[in-house]
């Protein structure tokens, strides 16, 4: 496989309850329970902070549910998933918020068959165009933040 130029950073973000004030990054949740899905980058990132109690879940939805109930102080998950829970789900929209920008770099690109330079060039040209004219940023703002 060959990959196009990256078009969005789907890195890890922190979700907290709207009522939790003053938290801008993960390290501020020292001594608190933070949830993530087992085996994901989110869980690995939280485990890097030994003073945060990591709770691993089989499904990220269960962690988000526990955050709403108040059993967790934060959930770390990649930004598109966070966005779909926090910005689009009517149950969570009013209660949760995403804090800051992604703090890991995990870029999305388009995969093509290895050696298929014709399609790859076409995709890259299109992506460059939408990045340059601000369409990409507008879409990120609309759907991921």
């Amino acid at each position: 496989m060959d990959f196009s130029i990256p078009y969005v950073n789907a890195g890890q973000v922190l979700i907290i309850r709207k009522s939790t004030g003053g938290v801008t990054e993960l390290s501020q949740l020292a001594g608190k329970d933070v949830g993530a899905q087992i085996g994901t980058t989110g869980a690995i990132e939280v485990a890097k902070h030994p003073d945060i109690r990591l709770k691993t879940y089989d499904e990220i939805g269960l962690a988000v549910d526990d955050l709403v109930i108040g059993r967790l102080e934060g959930v770390v998950v990649d930004s598109p998933t966070a966005a779909s829970y926090v910005l689009q789900n009517p149950t969570y929209k009013a209660k949760l918020k995403i804090v800051g920008a992604p703090f890991t770099s995990e870029y999305y690109g388009v995969a093509v068959k290895k050696g298929d330079t014709k399609d790859l060039d076409l995709i890259n040209k299109g992506l460059e165009a939408v990045i340059k004219d601000g369409t990409r940023d507008a879409l990120i703002k609309k759907w991921l933040q």
């Binding site: 085996g39 709770k55 549910d65």
Partner: protein, 279 residues
């Protein structure tokens, strides 16, 4: 043992034909090793010491993943033990109440106890765990371990209730009648004559339920409780040593259950011996 078969025979139309059809009885007591078996190569000895030997040999022969797994996983033992012990404690209380309720003459109490047993026995433990944690979470506000203990106690309380009921009913009626004839009240007779004898009868099945509960406690790992199984999965999910992690987890569970089944077996033999002395 007829009193412990209520869970397998309790429901469904049991074919009771007059002709002596061949039957098999699988009792709950299957776990407990027969104390009489003294051979050094008994199944229990082979399983127990074999498991310990493998647990020691694996990190010696292949230190690469196994030393790290053994350092990471036992953290979960505390959660597994505390969930098991707390659950069995509350389940015994619930079970005794349910068992007494099932033999109660008051219709309302009897009905409540029977509904509790029927409903809980009909719902898988895993579903109950999810239910108490997530569905009732907004109302109950229980933390992971507490809701795990609540769900396990409620579930096993129903199982134990049937053991208590069968145990009480297994004591010959004459005991109660004699106590009543001597002028005891029904409650006193139950407390001082029937229940002490019941304890001896129900100890083996209760021991088995305790061991089953220890194994079922692995289900609480779905509630983000860091028990033995979840610790193993957490290690495996980042290092991809799945087979190795689950091998260690399985061996630790096996050693624990074999140890406790032997303990229950010894306790049972002890009770039987002391029970005989009185006659």
């Amino acid at each position: 043992m007829s009193l412990s078969d209520s869970r397998t025979n309790g429901k469904g139309p049991a074919p009771r034909e007059a002709s002596a059809a061949p039957t098999i009885t699988i009792t709950d007591s299957a776990l407990i090793p027969s104390v009489g078996e003294k051979s050094l190569l008994s199944a229990w000895n082979i399983s127990f010491f074999g498991a310990i030997a493998i647990l020691i040999l694996l990190p010696v022969l292949r230190p690469k993943p196994f030393v790290a797994i053994l350092a990471f996983v036992p953290d979960g033992l505390v959660a597994t033990f505390s969930v098991t012990i707390e659950s069995i404690f509350f389940a015994l209380i619930l079970g005794l109440l349910a068992g007494l309720g099932r033999i109660a003459r008051t219709k309302v109490i009897n009905r409540i106890a029977t509904i509790y047993v029927e409903v809980i026995r009909g719902i898988p433990l895993l579903v109950q765990l999810f239910y108490i944690y997530y569905a009732l979470g907004p109302l109950l506000h229980l933390r992971g371990t507490a809701s795990a203990v609540a769900a396990m106690s409620i579930c096993y309380g129903a199982y134990l209730g049937e053991i208590f009921r069968a145990g009480i009913q297994a004591i010959p009626k004459g005991q109660m009648e004699a106590a009543l004839a001597l002028g005891m009240s029904r409650t006193t007779a139950l407390r001082r004559i029937v229940l002490p004898q019941t304890v001896k009868v129900i100890l083996p099945p209760i021991g088995n339920e305790a061991i089953a509960l220890l194994k079922d406690s692995s289900l609480v790992s779905i509630l983000a409780v860091s028990d033995l199984l979840r610790r193993g999965r957490e290690y495996a999910s980042t290092t991809f040593y799945y087979l190795e992690s689950f091998t260690i987890v399985a061996l630790i569970y096996l050693i624990m259950t074999l140890f406790f089944s032997r303990l229950v077996g010894i306790m049972e033999a002890h009770l039987r011996y002391h029970g005989r002395k009185h006659h």
